[in-house]
Subunit: 344 residues, 3 copies
Amino acid sequence: MTAPVPFIRDAWYAVAASTEVGRALLAREILGQRVVIYRTEAGLPVVLRDRCAHRFAPLSMGERVGDTVECPYHGMRYAPDGACVRVPGQSRIPPVARVTSYATLERYGLVFAWMDETVPADPARLVAIPQVEAPGWAVSRGYLRFAARWTNILDNLVDPAHTGFVHKRTIGSRGSDDVPITATDEHGDVVCRRWVNGEPPVPMMQRFLGHDRPMDRWQVYRLSPPCVSSVDFGAVEAGQPHDDAAMDAAPYRTISYAFLTPETAHTTHYFAFQLRNIAVDDPAVTHEFETLYQATFDEDRVLLEAIEREEMADPDAVPVMLASDAGVARLRRLLAKRGASMTR
Amino acid sequence: MTAPVPFIRDAWYAVAASTEVGRALLAREILGQRVVIYRTEAGLPVVLRDRCAHRFAPLSMGERVGDTVECPYHGMRYAPDGACVRVPGQSRIPPVARVTSYATLERYGLVFAWMDETVPADPARLVAIPQVEAPGWAVSRGYLRFAARWTNILDNLVDPAHTGFVHKRTIGSRGSDDVPITATDEHGDVVCRRWVNGEPPVPMMQRFLGHDRPMDRWQVYRLSPPCVSSVDFGAVEAGQPHDDAAMDAAPYRTISYAFLTPETAHTTHYFAFQLRNIAVDDPAVTHEFETLYQATFDEDRVLLEAIEREEMADPDAVPVMLASDAGVARLRRLLAKRGASMTR
Amino acid sequence: MTAPVPFIRDAWYAVAASTEVGRALLAREILGQRVVIYRTEAGLPVVLRDRCAHRFAPLSMGERVGDTVECPYHGMRYAPDGACVRVPGQSRIPPVARVTSYATLERYGLVFAWMDETVPADPARLVAIPQVEAPGWAVSRGYLRFAARWTNILDNLVDPAHTGFVHKRTIGSRGSDDVPITATDEHGDVVCRRWVNGEPPVPMMQRFLGHDRPMDRWQVYRLSPPCVSSVDFGAVEAGQPHDDAAMDAAPYRTISYAFLTPETAHTTHYFAFQLRNIAVDDPAVTHEFETLYQATFDEDRVLLEAIEREEMADPDAVPVMLASDAGVARLRRLLAKRGASMTR
């Protein structure tokens, strides 16, 4: 399965950080389509196809006028719903003069768009992350652009086996190489977990916990198709139960979210944030987390971009699957199912 | 009609400014074909296909020897008519050893080539511009390369409606948005005109006229297929007749010529000059006009290059036509007719 | 025959200078395939396909561990024979988990690989060059990458007629333009020779011979398909016999070897060395030769890259053949024969 799979359009995709979206026009490519993003006077994000219906000029090169966008070529204006509301020098507006408007939703510091105008947008289908607004948690943020297809990045996010090799200079530890990983489907998500028991905490944990006595550590990689990944790391005292209550009360826990949005068939936006329950009021730690995760994702990026070049050079190559690809195999089955309902 | 239309070869195309063409070899791509341009000892411009018949070396990388061009690889020499006249080490010259030579014509400070060797070149088919050599007129000049298909640039040149939007920072004025434009065919040209009556002159005119009282202003956009555009601007006292005699005697008039030459299907040479009947002896004004027009054409260039990228990404997109596209529609019909006699 | 001919795989190709190959991993593209090159602890060169069988990561981005290469993504290790010898977290190694290993040979300061895994590698098929290890000869070396197809570079190397034009600023002399060249097949090689008799030595020879009296000079261009070229220059006293014994005893002789290795269909590695029988103990002369030959090959490169652009723009163009193309014609026939036994 090395040729890029078609996009799954009926989903919420992160298209920008909330802080990027204001009254100015922001141009971006999403799922192979150029869009223009801005905010109405009331503060609602707007995502329109960035192409005037008349002569295909990018609307993002024009001006926002009130809540409309004015085309730079002949001054046609489009409302937030995509309808043309003005054609200079012409009183009748042709009904075909419109651009696609995508439903939007703003949460978790991100602006999301529902990229399928043929399927009603359902806010309930956005992943729920209670910790973002809950007390006791701090947030750090990042963004990268990968010159790699989205599916290979997804695979990477349900693949704990790569951590000890790709990330040996950042977050990896090779001690856990041989602890088995369990991959399961849970309510449509692919979940890979393992517990590494009775071992000293990794260096990062030691620093915030202030000790190095053996603990039980978990790693839970969750992928909510098509585009949301979370990686939950933490440690409890050795011998404690391994259940939700213990994890919620753990002295050290981080949950790293990644929202992937295909830019083109061969490039991907990677919006990320990390939750942590330690040093929550310390901006220096927030900055440190942002630096660390950016460096870590960059290790993935460099490797996945090299793989993308190889996949493009030889689209018919067939990979050899390993035992550690259990999560990948489950994910690919789920994506294939979604593909059956793809709108194109 | 968004796929690039085939080139119309049986026409005079500007290939270089006269000042660019001398005894040195000049390489350029014209209608998808690399040519080498130089001047004979008698001063006549020569345009040859820039590819040796033997092993395809660019002749422009060789040397001019007398009036011939010597190939840099094995020293074959070609005369201005394209015939090979020397093969080192070989007395018989194969009759197939020749390169295409294009008929040339030099006028208006430009070198033109007739790009169809199968149709006799007719000097009478070059557009007549009596003012270039007439007294009372000054000339300013410019050149740009557009990474945009020639047909979209042509459309832009029979489309007065874009001026108030694309050129609002240079020559545009939005006051005239709602004055209707008349598009007609005249002797095979597409002509779009309007008169804006009883309004104060635009700032440029005010400066040279020295007053701001209401005048009658004209705009005449003329396109002589396939490749020559002129835009005639001027003003007469309010209430005067709107005829040729009044325009010829007008206190302010500029005529801007553009000679488009496709470089490739997606790029275009844009040779331009402007005639003016004001401050004809002032080189500072000439310089000012050159700067102003270059900036103006550059506004078109930036926009048309963005549109080109969109057209290339989605060649099947169909534009919505507006009332202001009357000139464009006429032009496309004329080009389609010429296409019927295209040589390839 | 302007479309690139398929690669001939069953041959020895220079892939690196010996000095480039050590314990570090070297990535290079050879015959359209990325390979990773390194040396075992015993000093033997290894050439493996640079693509992990699992998820296509470049092995060259990983690490050498002992004599194996470890994949940067999940730590799979490959032995010099291409077999996978370790999969972290998995005891059974899938038999399909292997990469192609190419047979290697090291000679003349170069590492060669036999690029066809379906045909046994035969060391006897490497060209024999007794002078490299013989006393009385000095060696100078160089490398260039040509953005040009290998076949056009080969043609250039059996084409003495180009020397007076392409190399007029370096080694060329136009005096010999009209001396006929004899092209023959000798034991599967194409050989073009000429003797220029009773003329003063070229400037380079005069300098090392210390006189300018007339001599008999030879030029022998030999091409051993598919990829090895030698150019033998020298001079004997005028009137001496023109046989091997005289040439071996000549007071001035240089033999320039070029080993061409296609990188892609449109780019080529050019490994070169020059033998000389003059000033053999003078490193300044070695340096001077390296500079001179690099400049000379660069003249070919610039021209052949321009021709490559033309060939790619117009793949159907048919060259006009000249009398001086006798060697080229013989070479093309030999390559076509080899093509009949090409493995792909």
